[in-house]
Symmetry: D2
Subunit: 317 residues, 4 copies
Amino acid sequence: MALDSEQLADIEAIRTQSAPTRRATVPALEDMLYTALPVLDHGFVRVIDYMGDDGAVVQAARVSYGRGTRKVSEDAGLIRYLMRHRHSTPFEMCEIKYHVKLPIFVARQWIRHRTANVNEISARYSILDREFYLPAPENLAAQSSINRQGRGEVIEGDEAQRVLDLLRDDSMRTYANYVDLLNENPDGTPADPSRPGLARELARMNLTLNTYTQWYWKTDLHNLLHFLSLRADSHAQYEIRVYAEAMLKTVEAWVPACYAAFRDFRLGAVTFSAPMLAILRRMLAGETVTQPDSGLSKREWAEFQAVIAATDVSPLG
Amino acid sequence: MALDSEQLADIEAIRTQSAPTRRATVPALEDMLYTALPVLDHGFVRVIDYMGDDGAVVQAARVSYGRGTRKVSEDAGLIRYLMRHRHSTPFEMCEIKYHVKLPIFVARQWIRHRTANVNEISARYSILDREFYLPAPENLAAQSSINRQGRGEVIEGDEAQRVLDLLRDDSMRTYANYVDLLNENPDGTPADPSRPGLARELARMNLTLNTYTQWYWKTDLHNLLHFLSLRADSHAQYEIRVYAEAMLKTVEAWVPACYAAFRDFRLGAVTFSAPMLAILRRMLAGETVTQPDSGLSKREWAEFQAVIAATDVSPLG
Amino acid sequence: MALDSEQLADIEAIRTQSAPTRRATVPALEDMLYTALPVLDHGFVRVIDYMGDDGAVVQAARVSYGRGTRKVSEDAGLIRYLMRHRHSTPFEMCEIKYHVKLPIFVARQWIRHRTANVNEISARYSILDREFYLPAPENLAAQSSINRQGRGEVIEGDEAQRVLDLLRDDSMRTYANYVDLLNENPDGTPADPSRPGLARELARMNLTLNTYTQWYWKTDLHNLLHFLSLRADSHAQYEIRVYAEAMLKTVEAWVPACYAAFRDFRLGAVTFSAPMLAILRRMLAGETVTQPDSGLSKREWAEFQAVIAATDVSPLG
Amino acid sequence: MALDSEQLADIEAIRTQSAPTRRATVPALEDMLYTALPVLDHGFVRVIDYMGDDGAVVQAARVSYGRGTRKVSEDAGLIRYLMRHRHSTPFEMCEIKYHVKLPIFVARQWIRHRTANVNEISARYSILDREFYLPAPENLAAQSSINRQGRGEVIEGDEAQRVLDLLRDDSMRTYANYVDLLNENPDGTPADPSRPGLARELARMNLTLNTYTQWYWKTDLHNLLHFLSLRADSHAQYEIRVYAEAMLKTVEAWVPACYAAFRDFRLGAVTFSAPMLAILRRMLAGETVTQPDSGLSKREWAEFQAVIAATDVSPLG
């Protein structure tokens, strides 16, 4: 379980607080506020704070004095228009802040998205918890034989057990040695007074990349959707995609009209290159086009075929 | 007056709305919410939304599960420590959104601060209002004779009147011609059906730089304080400094502990270069140092003297 | 003409300088270096400096020790792959710096792109030149009757002359009054010693938005291409699109493989929403789809038809 | 040694290439170009490319047509002025690109600086080398007893050996198991054909945080100096400070005037808060001030004393 009883009590305590506000407020997101949505074996995503709602997008697009919203259908139409024509600035007017617990190797992918604010727990200052990610059996995948950065078949049986044992043993040993190097009791006194403890900023280097870390991560809706379009995609690594999927649920609760437009114009959308578009027009005119006379490379042709033949390209099924 | 009765009614309507929230809430800023703080002759600053409070800074610094705050004095001490040691990321965890009405030449200075989100009213799409900035008599300043980008004496008497008349006449004439070029009634029909109206995106080029524009501007507390440290400074142009001063009042209401630390460690602080610091130590050791034996250029020496002799260097008095 | 003889001499002087370098160098761009490409009536775009070439993109994608390039066809294939799959970071490894002279109302659109470095000539410090944009007759367009932010028919004949006269007269009068307010000879002495000159930072407010300004503008290739995809688009205002088109020529000279991929996968590409994609599949399967049974709104249906029916959607034709 | 013979040959090959350019060129940096400056036991910093020089800063500040430089002393004076008054945009006009090899835990500190472009070697795609950081004996420090995120005494003798053995053993074991999990020969065939290899994107999680990674890192001079002011500071962790110090040498070779101004106004400078400044003035007026009557907290007083008493506050000695 991701949270201990003290943490759960802290969360419950903060959830009981309520105050009146003149700000735009979203009951469906208030319901989720502070609660941990579990992800992977020890991770979570928690919404900590938010600013704005669907109406804040149209309010900014209209630079209005009051709320700026009109009929729900009219607002939704404007939001679809903004999304379709990549008018991104109104979506930047909403902001959300998450508390996330995630394995370090996932954090390293995540942090590449630079247009966000981050406060990570510091292992120079604090001692990290004894928690590390171990894949569930169904996610223990072999290397793909066709894609250098993809997964292939699930590993099963004795070999799966061997892999998991090996990952668990190394995590436990390196963590135990991390504790040994630190040589600290919880109250800061030395565990073994006969020797010094290694500096925290050095001892942490003995941890493996599946160790969990935590951060506060805050971004605006436009950049969040961009992050989600990449990380909820079927090409994203499973271990980050599950975070993106949990966050999509919070977006749906928070800004349902933006979310619907995002599904139509981003998540489920497909971009055709100029050459692909030319082929498409030939096909719509009744012509049968094959790869050799398409002008596309075999790889691009295969990607084109995959898109037009698929019954569903949505990465989320 | 900056607002017409319809706008005031929109603002009053939105101020009467209230909803319960679990989020951090700041009553002193709620009081100000949506209200226009007047700036210059037709401008204003309005807080439209905010996220977080003083506690959100310490909550993020501690990556905590609950509110994360302790005793008020302890939180304030942590905030001072973070500000002093330029740990900027916890301050990025608070966000604020303003609606600002400002002359275009001020908007052009303001927009250089790139770490903010902006939605400006579009003069391609809308017709700008007939409002332009004219300096109050006490702000009608001559060019400085010693500083190429500063102001000197106030211009008075007949010459002041001549300058103001000239500014007003040109603003009114160019605006009247803008309207003539547009050739549009408020309902979109042509004012003069015998001729076409010039495209809005072209007609706007006839406006002068003191015409008012409006935008929604959203940023995090760290970047806001950086903006204010530059724009509330005595070297900033008066016409942007008054906006910064109005915003400082909103910051004081919103995050009083951050604001106090900001006054001590930014607004009222002074940075001594390595050579200045060496001189300071000689002076503290009892030595009398003069410019020739200081090693400083005359200009740097003058700046150094100005700082150590001043009775108050705060740009805001 | 955009440049006076002293400026042309400065440019010629800098073009004669040459030095050996170990850096990646692009002869086709060296040929253009420092030369002003004319845009509009007094504007220009000049490449001032650049870093990297097509090879730098693949070198970074491969994190290599040497140049990192292989066969030209292999590199181009990798660049197409990166562009197609929106792997943007390798394109950020090339950088370019422009000197641009442009009307202020164009500068105000341009500056919304925040991921660039900018140094603009300061009208607080300097006196702006007497140069303002007047549209060529063929660009003097009426307001569109169907699109609130578009242009319609060209205005011709007497009315065109009337509009141009009006724009010219207002520009000349406001500039003449700007000079009168400044009351400065070129050497800084007062033109009329009997009265003070208005501070430059105030006098500038009397200028109209078609006055030319200048800046140094520097960005990386990824962000440049994003800028160009928006500003070379047919929906962009003509007066900024011509700058984008001039810059496209410099990109083609600089990084021809990236440019080719950009044309195929961005400029000439089209994104279909999830509902549009579903319709497309029905049509490819032989079904005749009409708007009522498409599920699309009339507006989205019209956009869809425009794309699949067009013989060329490239914004640059 | 950080580089193998093939890598050294690649570097030598690229260093022999030379081409004429019209761009600003810096011979002292050309000498260093591509060469690896060793850092830690297996790391390095290599300059891969650069744009601009000291002259480019003044050229941009003056928005000039030619090189824009005047006398060397005049340019240096302008650079000092810009640095002193925090006019940061001219420094953004120079750009530099590094190839860096560094332990993952250092990379995680480094990446917090978001205003840079990064391409990191991908462990989803590639297999990381068997190289991990082990501190030199003199850097094997105990936890500080007074500062929760600092180092104390050096650990010596048998205990030092025990710590190093433990770090080495865990690194070697986890790396060996990483190889075992991958089950790949260098040519991609399975090492043990009887079992599948674990996906690279999963196997990497077994590596420890002292494993070396590599990236291309590109930033502008302003943001580089900001990075260096934080990371060359005495409070920075030793393992990142040594990278900052190597980079300072490249900055000194590249832009000597900017570097000199940076040493005076940033690295060696000190900021006094408003209350400290008030005390300083009392002391300069001859008063003896003690902590109780200073108004400062004990902690702020101690920091104040440390600065005015020190004979050298430069973090680099």
